[in-house]
């Protein structure tokens, strides 16, 4: 099997300070990888480099495109990268306000992404939008409401619908359940798991919440000080951590 994403020696510096360095991994189709670490560990910097939001100072991010095979997204042209971001990739932000257009209706938020990839027929776009709102458990009669009238959990589900409507193959998620009530988190996790399984998505999920990765991620990467200190199967890293930092991280979780 060829990897969907091959990351090689990614480095990003902020002046003399290391954002992340020496990060390499392969992500295969259908795999969900979690990236954990405390604030400042470099996990969000890495995600930005992978998703093309930030240019790394060194390294390659090779994505298996549908039409042209493996392409390094770091060196590809800006328009080509933007096209990827609209089609094969999706990015779910921690704060739904960063991923939604707050002044546009829920249906418009979903439909807009369809139009960006060439959807023109109003009836079809609205029908697809309604279908996707249902999949993320937003009632059809809310389609003309603006996201500002939605709860935080609904906004996050709308952001997911907006992202997945174009059938991406790789989803980047930055703390997707952060800032949500615990009960709302559980619902979102269940939704994400179902979508990943049914659509065969690959995903990279950045979070500091070990309970979230245990339930969502197949594999785990632990970062500290911009470097990857441990990788492995999620339950192996959490149940039998090998690195001192991971041991500290796992043993610091409060039991409920």
């Amino acid at each position: 099997m060829t990897p969907l994403l091959s990351v090689r020696d990614i480095e990003k510096r902020y002046g003399a300070r290391i954002g992340c360095t020496g990060v390499s991994f392969d992500l295969f189709p259908g795999e969900v990888m979690g990236i954990v670490g405390e604030s400042g560990s470099g996990k969000s910097t890495l995600l930005s480099c992978l998703a093309g939001h930030m240019a790394p100072d060194a390294g390659q991010v090779i994505f298996a495109t549908r039409d042209r095979g493996p392409v390094d997204t770091v060196t590809m042209s800006e328009p080509a990268r933007r096209m990827l971001a609209r089609t094969d990739w999706a990015f779910v932000h921690q704060n739904p306000r960063d991923g939604l257009r707050m002044g546009v209706s829920a249906g418009g938020n979903v439909g807009e992404r369809l139009m960006a990839v060439g959807g023109r027929h109003y009836g079809t776009i609205r029908e697809t939008a309604t279908d996707w709102l249902a999949r993320v458990e937003i009632a059809a009669d809310r389609i003309d409401d603006r996201p500002s009238q939605f709860s935080g959990g609904m906004q996050q589900r709308l952001q997911i619908a907006r992202n997945l409507v174009t059938g991406p193959r790789l989803v980047f998620m930055d703390e997707p359940t952060g800032g949500l009530d615990v009960s709302v988190q559980a619902r979102l996790l269940d939704l994400l798991r179902g979508l990943v399984r049914r659509l065969g998505l690959s995903a990279i999920v950045v979070t500091h919440d070990l309970a979230v990765v245990r339930l969502l991620a197949d594999r785990l990467m632990v970062m500290k000080g911009g470097r990857v200190v441990e990788t492995g199967l999620t339950d192996q890293v959490l149940d039998d951590p090998q690195h001192g930092y991971t041991q500290l991280l796992v043993s610091s979780v409060l039991q409920v």
Partner: protein, 230 residues
Amino acid sequence: MTDAVIRLAGVAKTFTLHNQGSAVIPVMAGAELSVAAGECVGLVGASGAGKSTLMRMIWGNYLAAAGQILVAGVDVARAEPRQILALRRGTLGYVSQFLRVVPRVPTLDVVAEPLFALGMEEEAARARAAGLLARLNIPERLWSLSPTTFSGGEQQRVNIARGFAHDYPALLLDEPTASLDAANRETVLRLIEEAKGRGAAIVGIFHDEPARARVCDRLVDVAAFTPKAA
């Protein structure tokens, strides 16, 4: 024996506690185990002797320090995460003592989930799950609720139903009859016998001695794998 489904050779386990002076604790060395299709091997030994540790190394959530752990030809001690995940999807089942699920997911779907993961049509998967829940006496009115609020015994039965949802060729059972009443214990023992009957290779931990005597073909004392003090 070449037809073993599960085969361990020279398996060792150490824990390194980096935050406690980097103490290295050897807990197992030279572990050998071979389980053929249709056979159930019981792990015995005093509490703390390493029964669960050995089982977790076979499941792959504990990393072996040395040796080979072959499950249907895949060396769990060295395999890539995706190879172990594939093994767990289709070949290796595990009934642990803990039920770990996403809150809010209905019990029926918790049990059917291993079948969803194998790509089984959702209605067929739920029908199979319903059959197991009924056999294990989980009242139908509870099937649409999340098992997170169930009693210990009910959660254990949901866990067992989930572990038997797919006909895994290899099964790990950690105290499957613990906290069950006589009728449910009997059902679980029958499920184990049926699994053996269709050729599953089973490794089990049973504190329940009559249960162990009934389903286990052989016992392996893990005390034999305790590292000799230097």
